[in-house]
Amino acid sequence: MTLLNQKHTTIEAAIATIPDGASIMVGGFGSPGTPFALLDELLAQGQSHLTLIKNDANEPDIGIGRLIRAGRVDRLITSHIGLNRIAIEEMNQGRLAVEMHPQGLLAEKIRCAGAGHYGFLTDIGLDTEIAEGRREIECDGRTWAIEPAIRADVALVHADLADAYGNLVYRGTAINFNPLMAMAADRVIAQAFRVEAPGYLAPETIHTPCAFVSRVVRVDETTSEQGRRTHVV
C-alpha cells in the first residue's frame, strides 16, 4: 500500500498510474458521487480498452458517458443504463459488452470483494431470468445461488471532504457505491472538494478510513460537474 504521507497528489499524477485495459470501479448513482473530474482526466489521458464497473452509465455527455462515446470502454458491469441512450445503442450494436446485475447484488458483490471473500450465497433472483448461468448449491435444505465477488484494479471515488492521509467523508446521496468500491479495488483514487490536514476529521465521522485509499486529489467545487450539472441518474 501507499505510505500515508505520500497520498496527496495531483490529478494528473494519480490518473497516470492507470494502464490501458484496466478494470475500474466508478462511484456514483446518477450524478451524485460520480467522480467527474477524475473521469475527465482519464478521458484526456487516453487510456483505452477499459472495463468499467458503475451502478449506471451516467448520461451520454457526462461522466462515463463521455468515455463510452469516445469508444474507450470495452465492457461495462452495471445495474441500470436507462438514462444513457448511447450506451444502450452501443450495447445493442455489440460494441459495448454489458453485464447487468440487480442493484443490491452489484453493491454486495463489490462489498464482498472489499471484505476479502470469494463470494456469498443468496436467494435473490431464484426462479427468474437472473438465475440463468448462476451456480446454485443446497444448504440446510434450501437452494442458494453463489454470487462471486467483483474486484477491480482501480476505483475512482468522489468524497466531500478528505484529509491528506486519504480519510474520506461523503455527503448526501453521493455516498452510494463509493465506500464499497474503495474497499474492493487494489488502487483507490479519491477526489474531494477539500483535502485537510490529518486531524481535521473527527474519527467517528469518517466513512472510508485512509487504509483503503491510495491517492487523494483536490478538485474544484465550482468547475467540476458536481458543481454545475442539473442532470441526474
Binding site: F29, I81, G82, M100, G104, A107, Q226, R229, T230, V233
Partner: protein, 217 residues
C-alpha cells in the same frame, strides 16, 4: 397528471400507516410523495441510499448531492439518514422497508410481477426492483389497467420475464383496487361510476367480486 392518476395516488396514500417506512418506485409511485401529509410520521426510503426523503420545497435551491433513485432532487425530513448502497439493500433484503409501491408492465392473479424487461425492445437493466419486489413484505402495484393499445395488463399469467414471483400484495389501477389472495384476485374497490362488467371486460385475470362489499374510489 391526469385526474385518473390523481385518484389512484389519493387511494394509494390510504395504504400507508403513520410510522411506516415506504419505498416509492420510479414513475407514478414517486408522485405519491406529494399525497402523504407533511405532518404524517412516515420515512420514505430511496434505494440510492436515503431514508426520509421529502419533496423539495417549491422554488427551493436543490442540493446537487441529494437525489432519489428516480433522479429527482429531494430534501429530507427530521429523522432522515443517508448510507451506502450495501446498507440500503440490506434494509430491503431484511424486510425493514414496510411497503413498496411500483409500476408494472404486467401483473397476474398469482401475484407475479413483470416490470423490468421487454425482450428485444426494452432492457436497460433491473436496477433495484428485483430485491424490493422479492423482499418487501407489502408490494403495491400502481399502474394503468390497460396498456396504450388497450390490452389488459392484469393477466392470468405474466408473459414477460418476471421481476419476482408471487410478490404482489395489492394492485391499484384507475379502474380498481385488487388484493392478491390464495383464491385469486379479489376486487376491493372499483372506480366511481364503473360497471363490474366493464371492469371484467378490461381485465384478463379472473376477478373475485362481492358486489355488496365493493368500495368506490
Amino acid at each position: 397528471m391526469s385526474s385518473d392518476q390523481e385518484r389512484m395516488l389519493a387511494r394509494a396514500a390510504r395504504e400507508v400507516v403513520p410510522g411506516q417506512i415506504v419505498n416509492l418506485g420510479i414513475g407514478l409511485p414517486t408522485r405519491l410523495f406529494h399525497y402523504l401529509p407533511p405532518e404524517m410520521e412516515v420515512l420514505v426510503h430511496s434505494e440510492n441510499g436515503v431514508l426520509g426523503c421529502q419533496p423539495l420545497a417549491n422554488g427551493g435551491e436543490p442540493d446537487l448531492e441529494m437525489i432519489d433513485s428516480g433522479g429527482a432532487y429531494i430534501g429530507t425530513r427530521p429523522g432522515a439518514s443517508v448510507f451506502d448502497s450495501a446498507l440500503s439493500f440490506a434494509m430491503i433484503r431484511r424486510s425493514r422497508v414496510d411497503v413498496t409501491f411500483m409500476g408494472a408492465f404486467e401483473v397476474d392473479q398469482q401475484g407475479n410481477l413483470a416490470n423490468w424487461k421487454i425482450p428485444g425492445k426494452f432492457s436497460p437493466g433491473i436496477g433495484g426492483a428485483m430485491e424490493l419486489a422479492q423482499k418487501v413484505d407489502t408490494l403495491v402495484v400502481l399502474c394503468s389497467h390497460n396498456d396504450k393499445q388497450g390490452n389488459p395488463k392484469i393477466l392470468r399469467q405474466c408473459r414477460l420475464p418476471l421481476t419476482a414471483p408471487r410478490c404482489v400484495s395489492r394492485i391499484i389501477t384507475e379502474k380498481a383496487v385488487m388484493e392478491v389472495t390464495d383464491a385469486g384476485l379479489e376486487v376491493i374497490d372499483i372506480a366511481e361510476g364503473l360497471e363490474v362488467a366493464a371492469l371484467r371486460a378490461a381485465t384478463e385475470a379472473e376477478l373475485i367480486i362481492d358486489e355488496h362489499r365493493l368500495g368506490r374510489f
